[in-house]
Symmetry: C2
Subunit: 134 residues, 2 copies
Amino acid sequence: MIKRIDHIGVVVNDIEEALKVYQQALGLTLAKVQERPDQAVTIAFLPTGESEIELVQPVTNDSGVAKFLQKRGEGIHHICLEVDDIEKTLAELQSKGLQLIDETPRTGPEGERFAFIHPKSAHGVLIELYEYPK
Amino acid sequence: MIKRIDHIGVVVNDIEEALKVYQQALGLTLAKVQERPDQAVTIAFLPTGESEIELVQPVTNDSGVAKFLQKRGEGIHHICLEVDDIEKTLAELQSKGLQLIDETPRTGPEGERFAFIHPKSAHGVLIELYEYPK
């Protein structure tokens, strides 16, 4: 059902500053920096084994990510798990009484489908699920 | 230098309750539950691809993990990255001015050596480094 950790999302104030730690000091490779206007963020992708660390910088003050940053400060925002069949997983979670942020998957720029589980239902962890196009 | 995400540590109030979500609803496999009196915690290990999700329950009220739970509530506590050569990595981080919690590695029950980077130096993320015995 769950294949791997796709990525860990880390919210930062300034990607350039954060890359001094994650790229220059820790030695991770920077694969790309991508603007995601649909989510009002810029993301730096740093492959780490079969997963990625994503540095996420808000570009407006009113998104969910921007509010998280204002309230909690920089740090881990969410973990994303790759699943085989996102609709089956969401149905299973709902049948067990978990609260979902997205009851049906949204679609990202590369055709991936994604949905978030509410952290109240996952012991304080914001979990994103990803299904890649077959 | 960094090989993969070894694990993500999630602090929870009660492992049995958390397993209802992570094992029963999400379908992750429970590999083992281990008491770690040296860190005053019990840990449930859930392999996830090449990484693990670890559910960490404090067993006293005065450990660092217990205080994190009292202050912040349940949620992601740290991420652990596997490195080839922990001493080389720590030296590199110090040369770049990062603050370390452990300037020299500690040794775990299976011979793994580990050290923590201070979250102030990693944009709010508590990062653990692991080197496995060769």
